[in-house]
């Protein structure tokens, strides 16, 4: 037998496999109920009631929607590139799911005498990994729009690509200002710096604001939803898609929303840290596992707030015109992010913060 196989820690493998399936299941579940929440929030903001027929308060509505998507006819256009046409939504889904790998969902739990870290991979380039994977998400849009062989879809794909590239720059710059404070790309260190301490949003509020706006743009959410502008581009890059392939695109958008909310909560709002409570003290009083559970819930509460913010903004602000989008991206956000970066580094250098 291969000697390498012998030294594999099987318990470690099992632990990670369970963690991965839980996280994937959870993100799918949350994405499912995000669609419900979106419809409810939209309805409430427009003085309506929203879905309330399927189950109590319409709780089963996402299931009904999903079933509908599965039963729809799967159409591949005649002139489409078949392989790329299928690849597009798969890629969008894949990149959306991959980001969750480096998020710390809680400190750690003790199972059968083992310390299990509630993070799938604590790699030393955590933030960079998220950034890389998120920028890959634009390939889903690009490939989908290109493979549809349709002018509207192609135009939407081009819009999507240029938008994501334009807004990645200020996002990266605001991240740099963050990293100057944290001094590490590792997600666990970033959260660790905020546990029982001041949250980074207070040290770097402008950086957070830029990150927030860019996150809206990266997720193709209103006011930056130009790639799928219903009324100008006939739903943009997913115009030709039907059935679950369309569902994958829509789902990927909601998972992206969830993940970017988690990332914002983690980077700027202390991640799983319980506010106003000493986490270390809590471990002593109620035990490690209970603390981890509460931490997880707190992280989801913070995330829930950001998800609500996404929806709130979507149902308030109309879409930007394309030139306004580009002006905002290149002429406002990037200079602002640069100024913020210089400002933060000066403050860190003089020892005022960080």
């Amino acid at each position: 037998m291969n000697p390498v196989l012998l030294v594999i820690d099987w318990a470690f493998l099992l632990e990670k496999a369970i963690l991965i399936s839980v996280v994937i299941g959870l993100s799918l579940f949350i994405a499912m109920y995000e669609t419900y929440a979106e419809r409810k929030v939209a309805a409430f903001m427009q003085d309506r009631r929203g879905p309330n027929r399927a189950g109590p308060f319409g709780i089963l509505q996402p299931l009904a929607d999903g079933l509908k998507l599965f039963f729809k006819e799967e159409i591949v256009p005649n002139t489409a590139n078949k392989f790329l046409f299928v690849l597009g939504p798969s890629l969008a889904m894949l990149t959306a799911m991959m980001t969750s790998a480096v998020i710390p969902w809680g400190s750690s739990v003790e199972v059968f005498g083992r310390q299990v870290n509630l993070q799938i991979a604590d790699i030393n380039i955590g933030v960079l990994f998220i950034f890389g994977v998120v920028s890959m998400g634009v390939y889903g849009i690009m490939i989908g729009g290109w493979a549809s062989n349709n002018k509207f879809s192609l135009l939407a794909a081009l819009r999507g690509a240029s938008q994501v590239i334009s807004y990645e720059l200020p996002m990266g710059l605001s991240l740099i200002s963050m990293l100057i404070i944290t001094g590490s790309l590792k997600m666990s260190v970033i959260v660790g710096g905020q546990v029982d301490s001041i949250y980074y949003v207070l040290l770097n509020p402008l950086g957070f604001f830029i990150f927030l706006v860019c996150a809206f743009a990266e997720c193709n959410r209103t006011p930056f939803d130009l790639p799928e502008a219903e009324n100008e581009l006939n739903f943009g890059y997913h115009q030709e898609y039907s059935s679950m392939k369309l569902g994958f695109y829509l789902f990927a958008e909601y998972i992206n929303m969830f993940i970017s909310s988690v990332v914002m909560a983690t980077l700027f709002f202390g991640g799983y840290d319980i506010p106003f409570v000493s986490d270390a003290g809590l471990v002593e009083s109620i035990g490690q596992n209970w603390t981890a559970l509460i931490q997880c819930l707190v992280l989801f509460l913070k995330t829930g707030f950001f998800i609500f913010l996404f929806m709130w903004v979507r149902w308030t602000i109309p879409r930007f015109r394309y030139d306004q989008l580009m002006n905002l991206g290149w002429k406002v956000m990037i200079p602002l992010a640069l100024v913020n970066m210089v400002l933060v580094s000066l403050l860190v250098l003089t020892g005022i913060i960080g």
Partner: protein, 185 residues
């Protein structure tokens, strides 16, 4: 420039101030508006469970009335069919046999009575033409149907429930409109 009315307001064409150009303040204001709407009373009426009251002059689906003993009032005189501008009503008359006095009020009755709801314009002229108070327009409306045939309402679709055997349904079908008419007569 002279305005047509004194309500006209000049358009504010001043350049935007810095606060306005930042968008953020105005976006925040807008978000507060939408947030306030989240807690407002909903405008929705939950249709099948909750229904808006009809106006007192609403003319809905036709009902063939019965008298207090449950006998059909219609005598198949055909005046409603003549009055109908859309020619939606057809009927066939029949003679009452001995022993059917508890079913039909007069010696003649409508063996067949059909209203084509696709033709009907709900003008209510049939109701006005009827000398026996046998037909009136109620406070319901014709249900949708998958087939055209389903919207040609037969006599059994139009006839009001029996007032003695099914008093509850009878009162419901009668509605306020017929009650007003009967009290007026």
């Amino acid at each position: 420039m002279q305005t047509l009315t004194n309500r006209a307001k000049p358009v504010d064409r001043r350049p935007m101030t810095l606060a306005e150009r930042l968008y953020v303040v105005n976006i925040f204001k807008g978000m507060m508006i939408t947030l306030r709407h989240m807690f407002k009373k909903k405008a929705t009426i939950q249709y099948p469970e909750q229904q808006r009251p009809f106006s007192p002059v609403f003319r809905g689906l036709h009902v063939l009335n019965r008298d207090e003993q449950g006998r059909e009032r219609c005598t198949a005189c055909g005046l409603c069919a003549v009055a109908c501008p859309a020619e939606a009503i057809t009927m066939e008359a029949a003679e009452r046999k001995p022993g059917e006095e508890h079913l039909y009020r007069e010696e003649k009755y409508a063996a067949k009575y059909e209203i084509n709801m696709l033709r009907c314009i709900f003008c209510g002229l049939c109701e006005e033409a009827c000398p026996k108070d046998a037909i009136y327009l109620s406070e319901t409306f014709a249900r949708s149907n998958y087939k055209r045939e389903g919207l040609i309402y037969k006599k059994q679709d139009l006839l009001i429930p029996h007032p003695i055997e099914q008093p509850e349904e009878y009162r419901k079908a009668l509605g306020n409109r017929a009650k007003q008419k009967q009290s007026a007569n």
